[in-house]
Symmetry: C2
Subunit: 287 residues, 2 copies
């Protein structure tokens, strides 16, 4: 097992990747907010398969949390994260302080005009501005050849792909499929917030999505009927509250009025108690 | 004289710089909107002194022109620009189309929260958003070690320095002093708009600034008195109309209430007929 290096400043991190580049090594980058789960480990594995060197960042980014969201309480466990990253042969971890990333007089933000207007962007105002900004900074600091993001945050992946293309970042942005618990719940650091009862029932989101897929593959073309079915699964739990269930175009994230021919994205955000969970699936209709 | 290369796509431009980098060459970058004057040539000279290779871009950026501004009529002369760039030993010119820079579905913008709220940003709404966005793109395409901007656009230079720092661009941003016509008028592509009469009188801006410097260096500490004196010089021409004359902190661009100890920036924007001209000077008080 290789020795993992920790970098706490942008300059030292950049110098390391520059040295690798001079030696002809490619770099894969996995940005995280820490508290790693199997989903993150799948990103690290993919990065290791694709590139010579792997950098993971751990930074709970205040700019992407809204008022009343869980920035302060977001789970953190650096020691455990380091062990897991090392077990997946990561070469370096970038672990900056908030002050290193947002020093005094910080004032520059990266914003997209269209993609954040859908799905999670509707209820999480400013979230994707914070995401696009911190990822721009991380791309400039780490200067990776490839960057890997989970498809669970489907809209985040879409935003980052668009941002990288628009701003001409020389980074190939890759999505990695959702990793699920044994019962089907999508892996998330926020699953740690769930009570036993909430955790047991959280799988209803996935069950509702599977039911939607079944309907669509049987030929149901009315998104309203499909969404109603998913909704009835989710609301089978008394403490569930739906933020949104959407059937949309996976490229533009715009709602579709008829499911026909082209694949659709079914995306859902649901509160289980106070915990907001998201999940999604790209579904191809039958014909 | 070396053969100058023209690149019209981001990919081809990036590949060229990548090749240079592999050979150990540093790259200096001079972004322009073309219609070169002596001010641009001073930037090219400085870039050539500082770096092994020099890239100049020519792109009249629609995103930094507001409604009713002169995007359509902005002067263009590619052949002449190429000759001038070659005379200063530039190695490459990046000359993209608008579609290459802003393809269909383009939607990502870079914005600063504080610096654009002063000086030209007040009357040119969205201008610095367009500037910060296109320079971010150009930095990612050209990947220069150094970038050179004229101090005539003092606020633009401040915005780009802040943006490069905030977003961790690995580019050293350098300002180059204003180049003036024989009579003192600051060089500008927009000087070509002036009528003979306007051109003859446009030097009054510079004369007003020199008078301000004289007062400050004699000990005048009241910015209102200094500005009034500059104003009376400028308004010596009947077709002059002042957009702003400001005495501010050169770092924050915030107005100063007393001129004392620290250097101040005197900045002015004035319409001569329909042409908006800017000029400035950093002035150190006597004590």
């Amino acid at each position: 097992m290789n020795e993992i290096k920790i970098f706490e400043t942008a300059d030292s991190m950049r110098s390391q990747v520059f040295e690798w580049k001079k030696s002809g090594f490619t770099t894969g980058f996995v940005p995280t907010m820490g508290y790693l789960h199997e989903g993150h480990l799948a990103l690290l594995e993919k990065a290791g398969e694709t590139c010579d060197k792997v950098v993971m960042s751990i930074f709970v980014n205040p700019a992407q949390f809204g008022e009343g969201e869980d920035f302060e309480t977001y789970p953190r466990d650096f020691e455990r994260d380091m062990k897991l990253a090392q077990s997946k042969n990561a070469d370096a971890v970038f672990f900056p302080s908030t002050k290193e990333m947002y020093p005094e007089n910080y004032q520059t933000y990266v914003e997209l005009e269209k993609l954040p207007g859908f799905l999670c962007g509707k209820s999480r105002y400013g979230h994707f501005k914070g995401v696009a900004t911190v990822v721009s900074k991380l791309f400039n600091i780490v200067d990776p050849d490839f960057a890997f993001f989970g498809e669970k945050d489907f809209q985040q992946l879409a935003v980052i792909k668009q941002m990288a293309k628009d701003l001409n970042f020389p980074v190939k942005v890759k999505g990695v499929p959702i990793v699920r618990e044994k019962d089907g719940l999508a892996m998330s650091s926020r699953n740690s917030y769930l009570s036993e009862d909430e955790r047991k029932n959280a799988v209803l989101i996935y069950k509702g999505i599977l039911r939607a897929r079944e309907l669509i593959q049987k030929g149901e073309s009315d998104p309203e009927k499909v969404k109603a079915e998913t909704k009835s699964f989710v609301l089978g739990y008394k403490n569930a509250e739906i933020d949104y269930i959407t059937i949309c175009d996976p490229d533009t994230l715009e709602d579709v009025s008829v499911i026909e021919g082209k694949s659709v994205l079914l995306a859902a955000a649901v509160y289980f108690g106070k915990t907001r969970l998201i999940d999604n699936m790209v579904i191809t209709p039958k014909n």
